[in-house]
Symmetry: C2
Subunit: 351 residues, 2 copies
């Protein structure tokens, strides 16, 4: 089969790690004769904005629609374009318009990568983040100017959206350690979060063999530091999921290795695969960006296309490479993006 993939390197190190991950995917295709990738690259980014006044062409979404998936690097460079313009014009726009309502982000101990935790034990968790509503709504505004100014922001939680994320989490847990933790804050946030809790309670009834608990986001964030091995699947709102997944990346050892997938669950639009990290303009161009987040993200794309075996192989190879010390500077090594990528490619060929 041939998979048509829209590659959007985006900004900063996205332009370094996307090509690296594409090389890896092409190697996988060479090994596994039956699987072909057809990459089409789009230069949509902050630089594109400076030239065209938009992060992508007017018909950008129509163009993307014809692909099997979107492989994104990183979006945003505040020195060129304000974040809310670049992100809402590309990343968040695609998440919303293509109904990529679920964001999944695993975090686990990777051999050879030192966690900043004294005793990370053997944590292996996955955050299912509601990806289209909640605290990230475009409803709100201001009244008065000066001393009396008031800004109001609405968080919107639909039954559909909340339930969808939760069911996804339960299904996932049923293929893992059979536990779902709900991230809440119903003791402080008294409309949206009690609603969240009640939907969780109801949905959990449909999964009698999955155990559950709920934790307030403050305590849960602390638990990510003190006992991350206690978790299996965590379901969280857009904002809470955002925070927890950066924490998950931190305890793994670097945001540079954390992968993510934005999943369209109704099959109407392509899903989008983009790592957790940003465009890191400060290290762009030095050839030292960590390609592992993007490569692990490629593994999630393989999984998504039903190629779990290849996905597992890829992650195993990545771990053998980290375990042997081929690390970029962000995780304490001295290797370049290219050296790490080449090592992965060579090992894939002889795996």
């Amino acid at each position: 089969k041939t998979l048509k993939i829209a590659a959007i390197p985006g900004d900063g190190i996205g332009k370094e790690v996307v090509p690296a991950a594409i090389d890896v995917l092409n190697t996988i295709s060479e090994i596994h004769g039956g699987l072909k990738f057809e990459f089409t690259e789009f230069p949509w980014s902050c630089e594109y904005y400076l030239e065209h006044g938009d992060m992508m062409p007017k018909d950008g979404l129509d163009i993307l629609q014809s692909f099997d998936s979107i492989f994104l690097g990183a979006v945003g460079n505040q020195h060129l374009v304000p974040d809310h313009v670049s992100l809402w014009g590309l990343l968040i726009k695609i998440r919303r318009e293509f109904e990529q309502t679920i964001n999944i982000r695993p975090a686990k101990v990777i051999k050879g990568i030192r966690s900043p935790l004294l005793n990370p034990k053997d944590f292996d968790l996955i955050v299912v983040r509601e990806n289209s509503e909640g605290e990230y709504s475009e409803i709100g505004g201001k009244i008065y100017r000066g001393e009396d100014e008031i800004a109001i922001q609405n968080a919107v939680f639909s039954r559909k959206g909340t339930e969808r994320a939760m069911r996804y989490a339960f299904e996932l847990a049923s293929r893992r350690k059979k536990h779902v933790t709900s991230a809440t804050k119903s003791n402080g946030i008294v409309y949206s979060m009690p609603f969240w809790d009640s939907v969780f309670k109801e949905v959990s009834k449909d999964y009698p063999d999955i155990s559950t608990d709920h934790q307030h986001i403050d305590a849960l964030s602390a638990f990510f530091v003190t006992q991350p091995d206690k978790f299996d699947v965590i379901v969280a709102s857009n904002l809470f999921g955002d925070i927890l997944t950066d924490l998950g990346a931190a305890i793994m050892g670097s945001i540079g290795i954390a992968p993510a997938a934005n999943i369209n669950v109704n099959g109407k639009y392509p899903s989008m695969f983009e790592p957790v990290h940003g465009s890191a303009p400060d290290i762009f161009g030095k050839g030292i960006a960590n390609p592992m987040g993007q490569i692990w993200t490629a593994k999630m794309m393989l999984d998504h296309f039903g190629e779990e075996e290849l996905g597992t192989t890829l992650l195993d190879v990545v771990e053998s490479v980290t375990n042997d010390g081929f690390l970029t500077p962000d995780i304490g090594g001295q290797y370049t993006t290219k050296e790490v990528t080449d090592e992965i490619i060579n090992r894939l060929k002889t795996f």
Copy 2:
């Protein structure tokens, strides 16, 4: 001078650690002849609720008004009373009605207490949390039932409230390492957070000798794990401050040691001193609750009354005790609440 203090042990371990901290404060008063404390204890708690149908009497706030400060243990026991009832009926009610608009929570390396971080360096930070508005608003509701149900929660940011927290942070930083970090999320939350950013930018102009930066809450949470020593004062919204201070407690080694103060800045009402930890009903009654959070909170109360020297002495003594290994089980020791407290008291007497 005589300070009249309303002591509210509250629920669970609050009933163990408040008496411990009162003993410590009385010892300080013995040493320092000029300073007297007059404690009046109030049994307001979940048990009180079960008996009276309310967390405190109708005239509870009037009663508290005549005190110089409120010394609170912990509120909440979900097995008895739903959290949103107990907390909003006592803790949050006092915060709001007494205009305790600022919550300050320090986190730093304490000698003898092992951080869960491999390399905590020598972090010493303080979070200034907006304590009366933001994401914790009572505005919101639901529409439809069943499949189409939607819950909406408003976050309300006033210019006054936002600016007040920020000015407090800048003033505090001017007596510390002269740096303020703003916790934001303006790339995802597009009404309240850009407003927050703009107020921060404006307020910072009045403090030309304080350096600033801003970090999105996801990245900032990760930095608490990877480089907490990079921070001095952090100013945060109600929710973000809540999350960051639990993280701060976690990287110190235990939520059991983290102190807090709810400050009324306009002088109209008493301030309230309560540690970060909760009532921990699971360990209540065993005599093993960590009294240090409550005792460090007593130090913050001393500071508040202008007794910084005594406050510093108290924290020095606490640190000498931890350094010599007098630790409760939550931080890896085997000592009881009473043993740790007695050790602090004995050392205070000979300091």
